[in-house]
């Protein structure tokens, strides 16, 4: 198998996609946003519960590929307990990592394993969709986030 494929489908990513964390609906939430990829029909909904300025609870519901599910799973794990500003800064870092603008970023921890998607230009949007939806939720945007 090619090394870039191995890098894309690392065990940790496959584990998250098979057994995603924070998967499902959040009954009581403060913020919610939907994202879709019109090209493949994939969907994600992000739910956030805020405690003041801090994300107390984060869940997601989705129909998607291994990359988007793993990304949403790791993202929701990561942003729990973070302030809104920290979550936005993680979004910036994650986006620059997977789009190849930056090769080394701090603070992303296991999310760094998703950096392999930069070798697969058609798949970058799969990784970023849940993040864009999360930012839309934070900003209380009513518009559905679309990859296209």
């Amino acid at each position: 198998m090619s090394s870039s494929l191995k890098n894309l489908y690392q065990d940790i990513i496959l584990d998250h996609s098979r057994n995603p964390k924070n998967f499902g609906l959040l009954e009581e939430y403060d913020r919610k946003a939907n994202g879709t990829n019109p090209l493949c029909g994939d969907k994600v909904t992000i739910f956030l519960k805020l405690v003041g300025n801090v994300i107390g609870e984060a869940k997601f519901d989705a129909r998607g590929c291994a990359i988007s599910i793993a990304s949403a799973s790791m993202m929701t794990e990561m942003v729990k307990g973070k302030s809104i500003d920290q979550a936005k800064s993680l979004f910036e870092k994650f986006t620059s990592l997977v789009t190849g603008q930056c090769y080394k970023v701090n603070d992303l921890e296991e999310l760094e394993t998703l950096s392999g998607v930069r070798d697969f230009p058609t798949r970058i949007k799969c990784a970023t969709l849940p993040w864009n939806a999360m930012v839309a939720a934070i900003e209380e945007s009513d518009e559905e986030v679309k990859t296209e």
Binding site: S2, L5, Y9, L14, G41, D42, G64, A66, F120, C126
Partner: protein, 417 residues
Amino acid sequence: MATKVIEEMTRPVFDVNVLRQDFPILTEEVYGKPFTYLDSAASAQKPRQVIEAISKVYSTEYSNVHRGVHYMSQKTTDAMEEAREKIRSFVNASSIREIIFVRGATEGINLVASSWGRRNLSAGDEIILTMLEHHSNIVPWQLMAEEVGASLKVVPIDRDGVLDIDTYSNLLSDKTKFVAVTHVSNALGTILPVTELIRLAHERGAKVLVDGCQAAPHMKIDVRSLDADFYVLSGHKIYGPSGIGILYGKEKLLEAMPPYQGGEEMIDVVTFDKTTYADLPFKFEAGTPHIAGAIGMGAAVNYITAVGLENIAAHENDLLKYGTNKLKGIDSLEIVGQAPEKAAILSFNLTGVHPHDVGTILDREGIAVRTGHHCAQPVMDYFDIASTVRASLGLYNNRSDIDALVAALERVKEIFG
């Protein structure tokens, strides 16, 4: 009897490995692997004969058409009209007046929806479509229905992807003014019984448009024996260039329809008081057409006619059977669409693996398949899935291509465990 023997003797021998040499792109490598093209339903690759015909237009016979008195303009016009005649014969239309060059099937459908629809549809009328339609044969009808206050009725399918003819018969009524159906489903491969659908529609006085995009590359089209009122197809699906296609329409219907777009080519006399329109087919061809495209499409028709549509159909059916059996041998693989009458399309899913992930892994093995909803979301909704992996076959595919697909799918299963 004697002519039959001669026909058999003169029919070209179909040797896929010889034909493959006509398609330069097939020798390309991707990621250092041989290029395996299983996406012909999206767009077919081009043989040398088409590529050379297009290059010849620009090198030796190019000018604008139907305008100049000069030699080159006449030569280009002749070449383009010759292509129109080839395509007329290809679909067995009665006259070249019935063959309108358009950008592709999508434009052909929009033309009919706008021009025929605006003149003939009114509030309360019904248009029947099937669940198998490509978005191109849904949205133009939605737009027109909304404009005039007509409504759409949709014929369902069963779990194998076969159209429910009984429901179709029941949906037909005196309110039905138009039926728009695909000849072959691009998402599942189902071949629809269009002759019967047309006959039933005509009994109610409704007109029928057949979307022939996926049929034309695989079977002989005869618009007269189908008795289709309109038939559309795209050049790029029959091994010709993109950006060109044709709308066939019965002459009487086309004559009664208003122009679709205004401009040059489609007029007779223009004054600010009144413009009279050109005769068919030019009435519907406003502006400078895709000249090289039309000529290239003519070359593509020549090519597949020379190879022989019966030969192509036989070869593809054989490959479809081979592929279906091979895929059925992979556990956790489910084929979506198993109609008994089916063209060369294999749509499937691997349990627990998203089509996008399958597509990415196949891609790195050099295999091009399509993953997604295939511009046919209603079908996907019916099967309650977002997307499928689709391997679609063309005349140049062989058993090695299928074997490569199967081996790569085993890779996917290894990765996803």
